[in-house]
Symmetry: C2
Subunit: 79 residues, 2 copies
């Protein structure tokens, strides 16, 4: 089973990495870029076929390691 | 219009960051993790409402800045 975790900075948290990308896009001549946010995408291959158990396990991974829940939010997709 | 770009290392390219996460998950006691790949998620707010033009523009951004196409693949979602 494959889990895909999206980790993004919460709204309102300053994102210097995204800001740097926005700046670089402007310098390259791209107009109309109003904002850029950058986050992490983590793909996890899991043994087992139980979606309930996988969801629970990946949620725990996010809380313990993958996301800093003070400033980051996460979203889990299973397939 | 909002574009969401997923940038992942191509299959076969070594992913030390993902490997480190896999290791850390094991150390935390998570069993059954067979592999981890880590990539970037970039959300771009664009002016304008033309999906065709936005797709074209974001593809150019990926080729020029957001992805290193030698070792990374990208996927664009618009909404």
């Amino acid at each position: 089973m494959k889990a895909r975790v999206q980790v993004m900075l919460k709204t309102g948290v300053l994102d210097p990495q995204g800001e740097a990308v926005r700046h670089a896009l402007g310098a390259l001549g791209f107009d109309g870029v109003e904002g850029v946010r950058q986050g992490k995408l983590i793909e996890i291959d899991l043994a087992g076929d139980d979606p309930e158990a996988a969801k629970r396990q990946v949620t725990e991974m996010c809380e313990k390691l993958l996301a800093n829940t003070v400033i980051e939010s996460y979203k889990i997709d299973l397939n």
